[in-house]
C-alpha cells in the first residue's frame, strides 16, 4: 500500500531559538504544547510519538509532562541530521496504517548538552569506525564534510563563491524572519570570504549555527484534519535512504563517495510522488554545512551531477529572485540548528502561506534531511 496523501500536518509549534535558559525537556514540552494548541487537539488524543535516537527527551518524560493518554506507537530514527524527515515518515506511516490516530514528532536540543556534541565526549581509545579517521586528527563533523567538499570542488570545479551563495541566501532569508537567530545580522560576500577557517576548504560561515530550541508537529489522518484550526498540509510522499557500502559521515571508502544517500532517497521519493523536481515551488535542504546544498540539489534532481554549485549563482536559490528558493526561514545556517527540524516546520508554513519569505501560491514543498548520512525527505502539498 501507499501512504500517499493519507495524512496531514495539522499543528506546528516551536520555541524561540538562541542561547536559552530552559532545559531541553522544558523546551520540548513547550514546542509540543504549542503544536497541539495550533492544531486544536487535546493532549489525551495523542497516541503516537516519533523522535530522533539523539533526542535527549524520552517518550515517558514527554508524555508525563504534556499529559498524553495511552500511547500505542512510539518510534525513533537514527543518524542525527539524516533523521528529521524520516521521523515525519514514521509518524505518517503509523497514522496511515492505524497504529495510532494522532502522532506528535519533535526535536529539542541544547548546544551545550553532552548529547549535542558527541565528538567531544569520546574516549581516546577508539573502537568503532572512527578508529580509521580520528587518530589522524579528523575530529569534527566539519572535518569529515570538508574532505568530501575538497574532492567535490576538484572533480566539478565548484568554488568558494558557490558556497558563499548558499550562506548569503540563507542569511538574507533569516534577515526577513524575526524568529531567526541571525535576524538582525546581515552578511556580505566579503565578510564570508574574510571569515576564519574552520577546516579548509570550509570557513566559519559554511557551518550551521549552534542553537538551543525545540520544534514539534502534529500529524493526523485527513478526515481528522477536517476540523483542526488550520488548513491541513498533506504529507504527499516520504522516503528514507541508505545505499550500499555507505559509511555515515566518513564515507570515503565506496566507489562514489560524492553520490550519497540523497540519491536513493530521491529516487524513492519521486517514484512515490505525483510530482517531480520541476514541480517543487520551494525547498528546505538540510544545511549543517553549505556544501550539502549543491550535493542535495544534484541528488534530488534539480540539476545534473556537478552543477549544484553553479545552480546557486545569480540568486537562484534566494527568495524573490530565484527559480527555487531554498531554506526560506534561514535554515540551519542562519535561523537555528535543531537537527533540521526547523526545516520541517518551515516546509509546512510554505504550504500554509505563512512563511516570512513566502513563495506565492506554493503548492509543492520539499524538505530534506542530511546528505552524507543515512537520510530522508518529505514532500508537503496543499489539500486538493
Amino acid at each position: 500500500m501507499s501512504i500517499k496523501d493519507l495524512t496531514a500536518v495539522v499543528g506546528i509549534g516551536q520555541t524561540e531559538f538562541g542561547r536559552l535558559e530552559q532545559n531541553e525537556l522544558t523546551l520540548a514540552c513547550r514546542a509540543i504544547s504549542l503544536a497541539l494548541d495550533d492544531a486544536g487537539i487535546a493532549p489525551h488524543e495523542v497516541d503516537g510519538l516519533a523522535s530522533s535516537t539523539m533526542e535527549p527527551n524520552r517518550e515517558v518524560e514527554v508524555a508525563r509532562n504534556v499529559g498524553l493518554g495511552d500511547i500505542t506507537f512510539f518510534s525513533q530514527v537514527g543518524y542525527g541530521g539524516g533523521a528529521a524527515c524520516g521521523i515525519i515518515g514514521h509518524a505518517a506511516m503509523a497514522v496511515a496504517t492505524g497504529q495510532c490516530n494522532v502522532a506528535v514528532a519533535w526535536r529539542g536540543r541544547k548546544r551545550a548538552a553532552k548529547s549535542s556534541r558527541p565528538w567531544t565526549q569520546a574516549s581516546t581509545r577508539i573502537a568503532d569506525k572512527n578508529m580509521w579517521s580520528r587518530p589522524f586528527g579528523m575530529l569534527r563533523p566539519v572535518d569529515e564534510i570538508a574532505m568530501l567538499t575538497r574532492r567535490y570542488m576538484h572533480e566539478y570545479g565548484a568554488t568558494r563563491d558557490h558556497l558563499a551563495n548558499v550562506a548569503l541566501a540563507s542569511r538574507a532569508h533569516a534577515n526577513r524572519n524575526p524568529n531567526a537567530a541571525m535576524y538582525t545580522k546581515p552578511m556580505t560576500r566579503d565578510a564570508y570570504m574574510d571569515s576564519r577557517w574552520i577546516s579548509e576548504p570550509l570557513c566559519l560561515f559554511d557551518n550551521c549555527l549552534e542553537s538551543d530550541g525545540a520544534l514539534a508537529v502534529v500529524i493526523a489522518r485527513r478526515d481528522r484534519a477536517a476540523d483542526t484550526r488550520h488548513e491541513p498540509v498533506i504529507v504527499h510522499a516520504v522516503a528514507q535512504g541508505l545505499p550500499p557500502q555507505h559509511q555515515t559521515m566518513t564515507n570515503f571508502f565506496n566507489d562514489d563517495p560524492l553520490r550519497g544517500p540523497a540519491w536513493v532517497t530521491a529516487r524513492k521519493l519521486w517514484e512515490r510522488a505525483d510530482v517531480g523536481p520541476r514541480d517543487v515551488n520551494v525547498a528546505q535542504l538540510y544545511d549543517a554545512f553549505s556544501p550539502l546544498i549543491p550535493l542535495s540539489l544534484e541528488g534530488y534532481g534539480f540539476c545534473e551531477r556537478g552543477e549544484g554549485g553553479a545552480f546557486t549563482d545569480n540568486g537562484n536559490t534566494q527568495w524573490g529572485t530565484g527559480a527555487l528558493p531554498v531554506n526560506t526561514s534561514g535554515g540551519g545556517m542562519s535561523e537555528a540548528y535543531v537537527h533540521g527540524f526547523n526545516l520541517i516546520v518551515e516546509g509546512v508554513r510554505q504550504i500554509r502561506g505563512t512563511s516570512t519569505s513566502q513563495v506565492e501560491n506554493a503548492q509543492v514543498s520539499l524538505v530534506t534531511s542530511g546528505e552524507g548520512v543515512p537520510t530522508s525527505a518529505v514532500l508537503f502539498t496543499k489539500a486538493r
Binding site: 581509545r125 579517521s133 579528523m138
Partner: protein
C-alpha cells in the same frame, strides 16, 4: 620509528578483533589490507563478513604502501587539547595504487620522523603520489604518508 607520547591523542582500540591484524602489521612496517579468503575481494575498513560472498574467512595481504592523495583538509583551532597545539595541520585521504577502492585517512608528513604540521598545506595537491611510513603514538604504530616520486 618516531615515538609520540601524549595521552590526549586518539589511538585505535587494539581489542577490536576485526582490525587488530591491521595495527599489528603497522608495528611490523607493513600496510595490510583485509581480503576475503573465499572470493579474494579486498575491503576497507575491515569487517567480519565479505559483502560480496558473505564469507567469514579472512586473509591479510601486504600492500605496496603506495598511493595518491584523493582529498585533503586543513583543520584549524580551536580543536581538542593535544590537536589545537598542532593546528593548522593536514588530514589526507589516500587511494591505494593497487586498488582505488582501498583508501586510508592519514597525514602527509615531511619525513618519517616529522609531525603532522610539517608540510605547508598550500603545497598539497589532489593526485600527488605518496608512500606510507609508520610512527608510534602512545605505543601504537600508525600509518603516515610522505611524498613519493610518481
Amino acid at each position: 620509528m618516531l615515538e609520540t607520547n601524549d595521552d590526549r591523542l586518539f589511538v585505535p582500540d587494539l581489542d577490536d578483533d576485526d582490525s587488530r591484524p591491521f595495527w599489528e602489521g603497522c608495528a611490523l612496517g607493513e600496510l595490510r589490507v583485509q581480503a576475503c579468503a573465499s572470493c579474494s575481494q579486498w575491503r576497507m575498513p575491515p569487517r567480519p563478513m565479505c559483502p560480496r560472498c558473505r564469507s567469514l574467512d579472512v586473509t591479510w595481504v601486504v600492500s605496496s604502501g603506495r598511493g595518491t592523495v584523493w582529498s585533503f583538509v586543513v583543520p584549524h583551532a580551536p580543536l581538542l587539547p593535544g590537536y589545537t597545539e598542532l593546528a593548522p595541520y593536514n588530514v589526507i585521504v589516500v587511494e591505494l595504487n593497487e586498488n582505488s577502492l582501498i583508501r586510508f585517512v592519514g597525514n602527509l608528513v615531511l619525513g618519517p620522523n616529522a609531525p603532522i604540521n610539517s608540510i605547508d598545506p598550500a603545497t598539497i595537491a589532489i593526485g600527488e603520489a605518496v608512500a606510507v611510513v609508520f610512527q608510534r603514538v602512545n605505543g601504537i604504530a600508525l600509518p603516515f604518508w610522505i611524498r613519493a616520486p610518481s
